[in-house]
C-alpha cells in the first residue's frame, strides 16, 4: 500500500477522528512523541488524537493502549521496498 505523506518513516498511524474518544492513552504510550491531541472537537465532543505526520517507528504500542478497537491503525514500511 502506498501512503502519500509517510515520508519514508518506518511506520505510520491512521487515526479515525470520529471513532476516537480522546482519552490520550495513545499519546502517553508513544515513545518518539509523534501523537498529540487535536484542538478541534469530533462529533462526540472529544478532542481526537492526531498523528504529527512524521517520526512514527511502527512500534504498535499506541494500538495496544487504545481502548477503542477501531480508532487506530498502524502501518509498517515493507522490507522489500526499503
Amino acid at each position: 500500500m502506498f501512503i502519500e505523506n509517510a515520508n519514508g518513516d518506518r511506520g505510520y498511524v491512521e487515526i479515525n477522528p470520529e471513532e476516537c474518544k480522546g482519552c490520550g492513552l495513545c499519546v502517553a504510550s508513544c515513545v518518539p512523541k509523534v501523537l498529540h491531541m487535536a484542538d478541534r472537537l469530533n462529533h462526540l465532543g472529544y478532542h481526537p488524537a492526531q498523528y504529527l505526520g512524521h517520526g512514527c517507528n511502527g512500534c504498535g504500542l499506541c494500538f495496544y493502549t487504545c481502548p477503542e478497537p477501531g480508532a487506530l491503525r498502524v502501518f509498517k514500511r515493507e522490507a522489500a521496498a526499503a
Partner: protein
C-alpha cells in the same frame, strides 16, 4: 517511494459495525480510557489469530461489559449476574469442542458469583475466564466490591474501605490457585503499555490451555475505571500501576500445564431417538388420540399409609392416561417417613391441557384407609366417585351425593396371594366403576412400572378381581 503494510488494525473477531439501539454504531459503549475496551481488543486479537473464532462461545456477564455480545462476532450468551462460570460449564459440556470464554467483572465474579467461580475452578472445567478487576462496581455507579482497596472511597464506603468493617481486598488469583483444580492462572495489568503487552501473552496462554484440553484457565486484569475513580484516563492508568499493582502482585499464580493431560474424548451424546428405549416408553409411534369424544377431566386423589402403594397407584393412572393420549399429571405428596406415615398423591387425566397438577376438589377419591377417607371425603365434588378399603363407610362420614364403593380390598388382595396388591385391586374397582381408561394403556403402564414377572402376574389377577368385585353399574349409596 516505500510501500506500507497494515501491522495492526481492529481484529476480525470484532464486528465492523456494532448493531446497537441508538447511534454510535462504530464506537463501544465504554467510557474513554476504560480497561474493558483494551481487554476486548486483546481478546479479539487472540481469538482471531488462534483461528478459533468459529468455535468460540463468549459468556457476557452483568456489569459494564454486559454488552460484550454487541462487539464479538462469535457465539454469544448473556447471563444473569454472577452466573457466568456456571453457564460456561453447561455450554462447554454440551459443546465440548467449542472454546468457551467467560468474561466477568470483579463484582460479578468475586461478590455475587463467588460460589460459581470457586466450584468451576475447583472442577477444573476446561474453560477460560477473563476477569476484569477494576476494584469497583462500575455499572451501578461505584459501590464497594470485594476487591476494593483499603482506604478506597466508594458510594458504600464513603470514608474509605475499612479493614475492621469491610475486610480485606480479595485476591482472586491467589485464592483460586490454592485449589488443585485450575491449570493456569495469571494476574496481569493494564497499568502501562509494557504490562498490556504481557497481558496479551497471558490471554493467549490461557486460550491455548483450553484448546489443548488441559483444563481451567483464568487471567485477572487490573483495569482502570476512570469514570468512577474520578481520574482522567492517563491518571487512571497510572493509578493501576502505582497503586493497584502494590496490593495485587502481578504474575503467574499457578501453572500446571506441564503436569496436565487432556481427558479422553467425551462419550458421544445419546441420540434423542434412543430416549424411548432408555425410559422404557412403549414405542416410538405417536401416542394414540384419546379414546373418547367426550371432554374428560378426572381429578383424582389417592390416599393411604406410606407403604400401601398409594404413589404407584397414582403413577399407574397417570402413565396409562399418557399412553391413552391424554394430558396427565401426577403430584406425590408425602411426609418424611418412608413407611407408616401418611401418603397421598394428586392425579389428573384430562382431554385438554392441565392448568394445575394440584387436586383440591377431586371428582374421585381412592382411600386406602380410614384416616384418609375422613381427611378427604368432604373435599369430593358432588357426583364424584369414592373407592374405600373397608367393609363399610363409617356413619359419620357418609354422603348421599357421591357414588361410593366400600369393600375389604386388603382382604381380597390377601386371598390372591399378597395384601400388598391392595392398590391394584382398588385400581381395578375404580376403572370398572368410572370407565376412566381403556384396558390396553393400563396393561402397558403396568408392564412398564412393575419390573418383576411374579408381581406383574399377581397384579394382572388383582386388576381382574377388582373389576369383577365392582361391576360397572354397581355402587352403593352409603
Amino acid at each position: 517511494m516505500p510501500n506500507y503494510a497494515i501491522l495492526h488494525e481492529k481484529p476480525e473477531c470484532l464486528y465492523e459495525d456494532y448493531e446497537r439501539k441508538s447511534e454510535l454504531h462504530r464506537q463501544t459503549h465504554y467510557c474513554p480510557g476504560c480497561g474493558h475496551g483494551i481487554v476486548h481488543k486483546l481478546l479479539a486479537e487472540a481469538i482471531t489469530e488462534l483461528g478459533i473464532q468459529d468455535r468460540t462461545i463468549l459468556i457476557s456477564p452483568v456489569g459494564c461489559s454486559v454488552f460484550a455480545y454487541y462487539y464479538f462476532d462469535v457465539g454469544n450468551v448473556q447471563v444473569a449476574h454472577g452466573r457466568a462460570a456456571a453457564v460456561a460449564t453447561a455450554v462447554k459440556r454440551a459443546h465440548p469442542h467449542s472454546i468457551v470464554i467467560s468474561y466477568q467483572g470483579d463484582g460479578d465474579l468475586a461478590a455475587i458469583g463467588s460460589a460459581e467461580i470457586l466450584h468451576c475452578a475447583n472442577r477444573g472445567e476446561n474453560i477460560t475466564t477473563i476477569f476484569v478487576n477494576n476494584a469497583i462496581y462500575g455499572m451501578t455507579g461505584g459501590q464497594m466490591a470485594p476487591t476494593t482497596l483499603l482506604g478506597q472511597k466508594t458510594t458504600t464506603s464513603p470514608t474509605g474501605r475499612d479493614f475492621h468493617h469491610d475486610g480485606a481486598p480479595m485476591k482472586v488469583g491467589e485464592m483460586l490457585s490454592a485449589l488443585d483444580g485450575p491449570t493456569y492462572i495469571e494476574r496481569v495489568s493494564l497499568g502501562n503499555v509494557k504490562q498490556i503487552m504481557l497481558a496479551r501473552k497471558a490471554i493467549r496462554k490461557a486460550l491455548e490451555t483450553q484448546i489443548a484440553g488441559l483444563g481451567f484457565s483464568l487471567v485477572e486484569f487490573l483495569s482502570p475505571c476512570p469514570t468512577i475513580w474520578k481520574l482522567d484516563p492517563v491518571d487512571a492508568q497510572k493509578h493501576v500501576h502505582d497503586v493497584m499493582e502494590k496490593h495485587y502482585p502481578l504474575g503467574v499464580k499457578c501453572d500446571r500445564i506441564a503436569e496436565r493431560t487432556a481427558p479422553p474424548e467425551p462419550a458421544p451424546m445419546t441420540p434423542l431417538t434412543d430416549l424411548p428405549r432408555i425410559l422404557r416408553l412403549p414405542s416410538t409411534e405417536p401416542a394414540p388420540l384419546h379414546f373418547s369424544e367426550e371432554p374428560l377431566d378426572w381429578r383424582i386423589r389417592v390416599a393411604g399409609f406410606g407403604g400401601q402403594g398409594v404413589l404407584l397407584l397414582g403413577q399407574l393412572l397417570a402413565e396409562a392416561g399418557m399412553d391413552a393420549g391424554l394430558h396427565v399429571s401426577w403430584l406425590p405428596s408425602y411426609g418424611p417417613e418412608m413407611r407408616s406415615g401418611t401418603s397421598n398423591c394428586h392425579v389428573r387425566l384430562c382431554s385438554s391441557e392441565i392448568d394445575s397438577p394440584v387436586v383440591s376438589r377431586p371428582n374421585a377419591l381412592l382411600a386406602l384407609n380410614e384416616p384418609s377417607l375422613r381427611k378427604f371425603i368432604a373435599t369430593v365434588e358432588p357426583g364424584g366417585v369414592v373407592i374405600y378399603n373397608g367393609d363399610s363407610i363409617p356413619a359419620d362420614c357418609s354422603r348421599h351425593d357421591l357414588r361410593i364403593v366400600a369393600q375389604p380390598f386388603a382382604e381380597i388382595a390377601d386371598s390372591l396371594g399378597s395384601a400388598k396388591a391392595l392398590n391394584i385391586v382398588m385400581l381395578g374397582a375404580f376403572l370398572s366403576l368410572s370407565h376412566a381408561l381403556p384396558d390396553s394403556p393400563i396393561e402397558s403402564a403396568l408392564k412398564r412400572l412393575v419390573k418383576s414377572e411374579r408381581w406383574l402376574e399377581l397384579d394382572r389377577r388383582a386388576l381382574a378381581v377388582g373389576r369383577e368385585r365392582v361391576p360397572a353399574e354397581e355402587f352403593v349409596h352409603a
